[in-house]
Amino acid sequence: MGAAGVATAATAVTPLAVSAAIAETQERTVPQAQAITGTMPVTLKVNGQSHSVQIDPRATLLDTLRETLHLTGTKKGCDHGQCGACTVHINGRRVNSCLTFAGMQQNVEITTIEGLGQPGHLHPMQEAFVEHDGFQCGYCTSGQIMSAVAMVKEPWGTLDSDVKEAMSGNICRCGAYPNIVAAVQAVRRMA
């Protein structure tokens, strides 16, 4: 499903990407092969594609993206809206996907990191994060980038300190903050 982009985009990237993507393709099978008791049908529009799936009514948008749609680029870091790793866009605004039920988001446009850009055709913010080394382990990075893309459209000032404030809902325990600020500012200057 949504993960198809991962495997197909691999042609344009480094051999590392190829080996990783090929190795994982077989695991990313079509989800929900069997009916699960107590689930309900929902239709979610993610990255421009409509997905009709059965989910647990208690499922957060985060867990639905990851466990049902297998869009695992969105990460879980706290499940409490405290770390920002799960940031996605709902109708273009940044939202902690762990703090909303999937069932409540059926008539909106959801964008995840996979929908922003893939190796070979990265979004300028993704390019900037590579160029400025705006990460170490990479785990919070999807959330940082989704937050940053939304932040650029928000009414903030032009200073580094504005970026630092606007990006403080996204924790990077590796502490790549100076490079994150550099990446975001590079994109803001291009805009």
Partner: protein, 750 residues
């Protein structure tokens, strides 16, 4: 060994080759793995920290929708302990397998695990398991020094001269106790395990900083041969030491997969991560320094005590750096452990050195003040000529240059020593500094390099990239040796089935891995030369190996640019897909009688701003100068040091896990109440690498940069806080209430 001095790729700032995967959500971390028929496990955690299980009722939970099983002591099946081992194998901190008995020794200890079709169902079932306890009074006491040790008396860790006599006779003395609270690693990636069992073999997708050790431990504990376990950590959302060794959740996931014959995913919650996956222990340290009137140290004594769990002994090793950092004829370091009802502590970034240097470098600042001496001068004055703890030379030590370069970059000469005497824009400034050090070592490593007919190279090593840039550095080393561009090197790591590689700990991956990869590249080159001289149709057929050389990805006659043939062309002529070479690196770590003292060094300078009117303290600027051998890739290396400084700001000002003394629960068990530094807390950071190769450690002269950046930062900041406010904070973190006391008062009296 041949020293590598010139290179087109080594030392060149190179973008991470895994960057495009990480910025696009395509990098596969442990919990991203999914398999048909996957089930979800959710542990049931004890809600007491001392006592026994009186009754455990799973009947209601088992009947809930989607629930497949609820396991507890009686039905989880056999799990074994690892045998005692000497050497660097079979390591784990919490040695008791989960659910082994009904005794509860820490809050959050697993007592059962629910397995269901969705994660929501598993969690609901786990929360419906009814457990009653025979509760006893827990001990999570914060005071450590002076409370009963696990041994009759503290261990002597290092000793020379007569410290007691020297302290007695001293002209100038410092005697103070410094305290580090429990700190929790809190990598943003939750610990997780996806366990697949095919009836014989376990494939375990783990959050592991050490896949080979993880495999060995899991095989032992599951009771199967090593070859029936494979551990995979292709990408790790960092760990900071917390993911070095296996934790009980991994055993639960594997046991569930075994029992059910279906893949099982278990993701540890953030709350559980404060309980059952390790922490830096609480530590008390008494430091006594003695000096003569002109600042020459005459005695150093460090007595530390750290807490550990009820069953296992974790020693923080706070005396790691003390014995060789300064010259002193008399020195004594002792260490002891006390038991508390807490989960097992474990190594956290810079174990031993980071807390040890907080105490030692705070005491050095206090000594400089007592001597009315500049703190940089005090350290320069006590620079040793050799490692006095072992009477061996340093491999490559440039501490003095760290101090002088740092002073210059920071503008230290403009510092006025009087408390609160420096102002800027209406703010009071505080300037403080500290020296730092961290070990350097190689550990045993094997690597394989293949040269392929398509012109690419493949390098394989069973190590991990936890964010330090190992993928990229490995490609750089292969590229350096073979001339194949970095973007044509396929790096394969994070899999226990690969040639055994180093744990991602100790800051030693780069030093250990690079010599093995370099040797493997050279041996692959030899295999290629053999193909060139033996294969029909090769222009070099019949030549001797010594007639040929490999330059820029080509094979040619020595010194002759003309007639050079691309490596890939040789393989096509020979009709082989690839040639390969293996390489090994031996260990320097834990050598019985080392001949050379391997360490990295650095100097940290911090500026704080202080607004007494509103009690607002900020870290505004940090200058750090690092002597960590040759820096192979300055981009991720700089990022490491900057990130460590950020973590140091958290250590100094925010981080502390607090236990409720009634229940033993870590009460601030989330990222809102356990505060780590965020983007807005980041100071201006200036990083300088001295870049002196340490050729005694390896041919590339590389040491490592993962941990040293955090060493010394907390004390540089608290020393700056003293300079700004007159308050000596010896009990981390610095709290606002500490700074509300009148100037020249201390918050923690020895």
């Amino acid at each position: 060994m041949d020293q590598v001095t010139e290179s087109k790729v080594i030392g060149v700032a190179t973008p991470r080759i895994d960057g495009p995967l990480k910025v696009s959500g395509s990098a596969m971390y442990a919990s991203d793995h999914h398999f048909p028929g996957l089930l979800y496990a959710w542990p049931v955690c004890a809600t007491i920290s001392n006592g026994t299980i009186a009754h455990l009722d799973t009947a209601g939970a088992e009947k809930m929708p989607g629930v497949v099983a609820v396991y507890h002591r009686e039905n989880i099946g056999k799990l074994y302990r690892v045998p005692p081992s000497t050497g660097f194998t079979l390591i784990l901190d919490e040695k008791r397998p989960p659910l082994e008995d009904d005794t509860i020794r820490y809050y959050g200890q697993y007592v059962a695990v629910a397995v269901a079709q969705t994660v929501e169902q598993a969690r609901a079932a786990a929360e419906s398991v009814k457990v009653t306890y025979n509760k006893e009074k827990p001990d999570t006491g914060e005071k450590l020094l002076g409370t009963p040790l696990t041994t009759d008396k503290p261990d002597e860790k290092s000793k020379r001269g007569d410290t007691a006599a020297a302290l007695q006779a001293a002209k100038v003395k410092v005697d103070a106790v410094y305290r580090i609270p429990v700190e929790t690693h809190n990598p943003i990636e939750l610990h997780a395990s996806v366990a697949v069992f095919d009836g014989k073999k376990y494939t375990l997708y783990e959050t592991s900083q050490a896949v080979v050790n993880h495999r060995d431990v899991m095989a032992q504990m599951l009771g199967v041969p090593t070859e029936q376990v494979q551990v995979i950590t292709r990408f790790l959302g960092s760990g900071f030491g917390g993911k070095l060794w296996p934790w009980p959740h991994g055993l639960l996931a594997a046991a569930c997969a075994r029992n059910l014959g279906r893949p099982v995913k278990l993701v540890v919650s953030r709350q559980m991560m404060f309980e059952s996956v390790g922490h830096r222990p609480a530590i008390d340290q008494r430091i006594q320094l003695a000096a003569d009137a002109d600042g020459k140290l005459t005695a150093v004594q460090q007595d530390y005590v750290n807490h550990t769990s009820m069953l296992d002994d974790y020693n923080e090793g706070c005396g790691e750096i003390t014995p060789f950092l300064y010259s002193t004829p008399n020195l004594l370091v002792t260490g002891g452990l006390v038991r508390r009802n807490v989960g097992n502590p474990t190594a956290m970034r810079g174990p031993g050195a980071v807390p040890g240097l907080f105490a030692l470098e705070s005491a050095m600042d206090e000594l400089a003040i007592a001597l009315k001496m500049d703190p940089v001068q005090l350290r320069l004055k006590n620079e040793p000529a050799l490692d006095e703890s072992l009477n061996i030379p340093f491999s490559s030590r440039h501490m003095k240059e760290c101090l002088t370069v740092g002073s210059e970059k920071f503008g230290w000469a403009k510092r006025t020593p009087e408390i609160g005497s420096m102002k800027r824009d209406g703010l009071t400034l505080g300037w403080g500094m500290a020296a730092c050090s961290w070990l350097a070592a190689r550990i045993e490593t094997e690597a394989t390099v293949e040269l392929l007919q398509d012109g690419s190279a493949r390098v394989a090593c069973g190590t991990q990239d936890i964010g330090g840039g190992t993928y990229t550095v490995m490609a750089q080393v292969v590229s350096h040796e073979t001339g194949i561009p970095v973007n044509r090197v396929d790096v394969v790591l994070g899999d226990s089935s690969l040639p055994p590689g180093p744990i991602s700990g100790g800051s030693w991956v780069t030093a250990s891995m690079t010599p093995a990869v370099l040797a493997a590249s050279q041996n692959a080159g030899k295999a290629l030369v053999l193909a060139a001289i033996k294969s029909d149709g090769s222009p070099f057929k019949g030549k001797k190996p010594e007639d040929l050389e490999l330059v820029d990805g080509t094979v040619r006659l020595k010194g002759q640019q003309q007639g050079a043939v691309p490596m890939a062309e040789i393989l096509r002529i020979a009709k082989v897909n690839s040639v390969s070479g293996t390489g090994k690196s031996d260990s320097t770590f834990g050598a019985a009688k080392p001949k050379v003292s391997f360490h990295s060094y650095g100097a940290q300078f911090a500026e704080v701003t202080w607004q007494p009117e509103i009690a607002r303290l900020r870290v505004s600027r940090v200058v750090t100068v690092i002597d960590a051998g040759r820096i192979l890739n300055p981009r991720p290396a700089r990022n490491q040091i900057e990130g460590a400084v950020v973590m140091g700001v958290g250590m100094a000002l925010f981080e502390e896990t607090m236990y409720d003394p009634r229940s033993g629960a870590p009460i601030n068990n989330n990222l809102a109440d356990y505060v780590v530094a965020v983007n807005a807390d980041t100071p201006e950071i200036d990083v300088t690498f001295l870049d002196y190769p340490d050729y005694q450690l390896n041919a590339l002269g590389a040491r490592g940069v993962g941990e040293i950046g955090l060493a010394g930062i907390a004390s540089a900041i608290t020393n700056a806080v003293y300079h700004a406010t007159g308050v000596r904070v010896r009990d981390l973190p610095v709290r606002i209430e500490d700074l509300l006391v009148p100037a020249n008062r201390t918050t923690h009296l020895a």
